[in-house]
Symmetry: C2
Subunit: 94 residues, 2 copies
Amino acid sequence: MAEIQKLMAEIYLERDRRRGAERTLIWMLSEAGEVADAFLKRSDEDLRSEVADLLAWLLSFCNVVGIDLEEAILAKYGRGCPLCKSKPCRCPIR
Amino acid sequence: MAEIQKLMAEIYLERDRRRGAERTLIWMLSEAGEVADAFLKRSDEDLRSEVADLLAWLLSFCNVVGIDLEEAILAKYGRGCPLCKSKPCRCPIR
């Protein structure tokens, strides 16, 4: 994960910084919509490509705002569900 | 990344499967909105928490639909920008 975030920085950080956090976030939100679109169209190949794009834009956004995404997810989920504190999660299904 | 996807499966896969791909995707989209919300409110701590949640739901969604997210992102971005084929990316800024 940390290596993938670094790879994204190598490819995109300079451009992401020039574009700025706000427009990078809008791109990320647009990619979330494209995941939904590929899902509704039942295209497995497009869905793989769109989840990759969403992660790429999420990492670009994290790079611009200075968040280590691996650190952030492990801090919150590393010991199991942050709500019920167990693994597997025992919260009611929503 | 693969280890984090496995961790999310250990915590959530059974519940995610019972909830189903459609509702899991709706949760993921809702988390993308929460990232935007934390960004607009300029809360660094909330932003760290929300990007972690978005990744967690993206991984839950990938687990339910059977996509290996690390494999998907490396297949698309492993050799640099998929559009201009270079690293760093030389595409015009959008």
